[in-house]
Amino acid sequence: MQRIGVFVCHCGSNIAATVDVKKVVEMALLEPGVVHAEDYQYMCSEAGQAKILEAVKEKGLTGIVVCSCSPRMHEATFRKAAERAGVNPYMVEIANIREHCSWIHKDMEEATKKAVILARAAIAKVNLNAPLQPGESRVTKRALVIGGGIAGIQTAIDIADAGYEVDIVEKTPSIGGRMSQLDKTFPTLDCSACILTPKMVEASAHEKINIYTYSEVEKVTGFVGDFTVDIRKKARSVDMNKCTGCGVCQEKCPSKKAPSEFNRGLNTRSAIYTPFAQAIPNVPVIDRDACLKFKTGKCGLCEKVCQAGAIDYAQQDEIITEKYGAIVVATGFDTIKLDKYDEYAYSQSKDVITSLELERIMNAAGPTKGHLERLSDGKAPKEMVFIQCVGSRCADNRGKSYCSKICCMYTAKHAMLIRDKYPDVNVTVFYIDVRTPGKNFDEFYRRAVEEYGVNYIKGQVGKVAPLPNGKLLVQGADLIDNKQILKEADMVVLATAIEPDPSVRKIATMLTASIDTNNFLTEAHPKLRPVESPTAGVFLSGVCQGPKDIPETVAQAGAAAVKAIGLLAKDKLMTNPCTAKADELMCNGCSTCANVCPYGAITYEVKQVNDHGIREDRRIAVVNNALCQGCGACTVVCPSGAMDLQGFSNRQILAEVDAICR
């Protein structure tokens, strides 16, 4: 029989205001095995934990039940306290009487009743708990960063600077990401390329960083400290070692009709291309869908002009398998498709553009060489209208429910840059709210209004209609003046909502990292563990976790790096002892459990067993504790119940069921 101590937390008034904690203590004392019960203001505090130590000492407790907040919050705290008191940490169970009780129920009597039942279930479980010892597993001292944008680059540099090997996997031909497409950055207006390229160079030159561009993660197996990853290096058709980056092939390439991804399709590129001039690596790839050689078999011009002999049409995709201790996801974002927003005429007029397209237009290396002009006729615009929140903050199924966060600031930036460079252009911004939290952010926005004379109108635009004269009729409302506004504009810029890059879904599935309804990766805790995924060993960097601007992205990238370094610095990891275990005498050796194990943790051995005097050789399931993650899939398919999960055994769960239904 266990000697169980029950500790009921008030959590200030969080629990005590709706749950009669004294009553819970009183009722707990009636349960079998309970030799001690008390309540305290804050069990998680130093003084609260001391209560546990004291009670263990005085009453010789073998099991501990803490009635408090979610085990996801403080289970680890109380396990450590138990350990300090000399009780096996796995002899602790938490009854969640805050999130699952006091916070959702208003009636004191009802909530107290429920808290008593939850405590009872935890006590029933602890009665059947057994001490467990964690095992150890090794840590591969190498990190993988998925995505080579500013987030991925910064994370990789920070991890590499700490002395660990880092691989970056980037699906496009160059690292740089979205930031390389930007012209200037807020709120300082410095040139994006000028601050990004040195980082790109630093990453590529770093002896600890290895970059796989034009590559994708294909398969991930293993677990924290010991991931095995297959990386598909897509055929570049150019030998990375031979190419000198002279660019002659791109000049001579006769197929120049492919839309430029880098310029958001606003102009075209050659079939053999580097996305932009400062690309790293400065080695082109052949777009096999656009290349005449691949499409028709004729041409081969690039091979002829390449003095280095780097062109290799026969190149195949290559799969590289590598082991990693930590994985950082930095897959970034894209803008949403606007096909559901017909009212803004994006598909009808070339002069309705997204903000990211405007970045390319404003950029000296862009499709218009940095001249602000209408894409329809090349004329300089006189009236420009910016529309905010296109697809953001939508409760309908057309857009995204969240605020994209960066649009208010970049629109102020665009407006300011245009007014600065082209003072005769009128700029009108239709906004719902202007959101500028951040250092020097509101000052920046106010400068756009006060110094640059940008016309901000509170009110969303209802419709943009192309006019026969080539202009765009913008129909909006000014909610302050209570007027409807009809404005003829030359160009309309849509602050299009951003969404996680679509590739993230596949990656999240491979990593078994959870994802929310908007495809943003979920963090382990929204406040306290914002850069960790709930999946151990997987960290989040940049917009894949939620909308962010550059400074935030860089800060989070560094934080993710620190978390990864913290993991890589360990020589061994303690493994979860809540693993499956087969009862040798009951195991049929039928292999059913091995069929459903996602980790290949179950193997079979022929063992001699002594089954109540009958000695015979039997085929028996053996669980590898380093591989087993404790999901329990095997336990349910096992017909005899030989396979059981330590910490969540059949009898423990049944005891909880019984306690709840009692």
């Binding site: 009951m586 049929n588 005899s640």
Partner: protein, 324 residues
Amino acid sequence: MQELVNRAKELLADGTVVRVLGWKAGDLPYNPEPAYFTSAEELDNFVYNGFCGANLSKYMIEASKLEGKTMVCLKPCDTYSFNQLIKEHRVDREKAYIVGVGCKGKLNIDKIKEKGIKGIQSISGAEMSDACDTLTIQTLYGEKTCSYAEAMLERCHVCKGKEHMIYDEIIGESKDTKDAERFAEVERIEAMSPEEKFAFFRNELSKCIRCNACRNVCPACSCRKCVFDSTKFDTAQKANVDSFEEKMFHIIRAFHVAGRCTDCGECSRVCPQGIPLHLFNRKFIKDINEFYGEFQAGADSEARGPLTNFTFEDCEPSIVTERR
């Protein structure tokens, strides 16, 4: 049958096998029982006729542990069970010499008795060499006749086919006996109202005496220790004390063999209370076929069972409500 006995003697003589697993005559004309034979003399008691319904594949679990090979007689439907046991590493293919025996449908003595035929002394017309059309029964009250088909086990009316799924050689002729729809009875129950269903099963299951015959005969229920005898689930008990336990036992029994049950029908055959236990197994089979595609357990010894498999597009559990 003589061919079978002769072959068994040969195999014993040339040392291919050290024992034969078949049937020997019982104390009544209609209750032959499974038996091992290790010599030519013993084989004189060997029988194989219409009453040899017992599925011998489960005996091979123990036989696999013995020295030397065992010749085992398997009817077509028994071979499914044998394949399933190979898949689960419960029998050793190398330890078995499988003689696929022909089958003209197996008989249910209760059906004969239901016709008011009593005081049975001998029955003819059920040997493998017979046409198996009509049974001639000598009773204390004179000679009676009975149609063979009418006396067949339920499972033979919905026979999976007379092809052996695994064998070393085949002896004897088979005859197609399928003349009914396998799922007709399940469908009839599905169409009932919840109250009728409940009443139907309560009535059937209330007969259960928890003798465990269904479990012990089932070639899929081959656990060394059954969950119902184990302390791991707090379920160890012998008799049903409450109607709940009958349901619990039979649902879990059927669930544990779901996707592994070959529908051999042994459970219903041996139930002393005549409970149509196959209706549970067949419901699972029907659902599996409908939800996850046709699956016949034991058709081979490799394929993954439906409950240890999945597709991304599987139906949601709410389908149970939706299709009503």
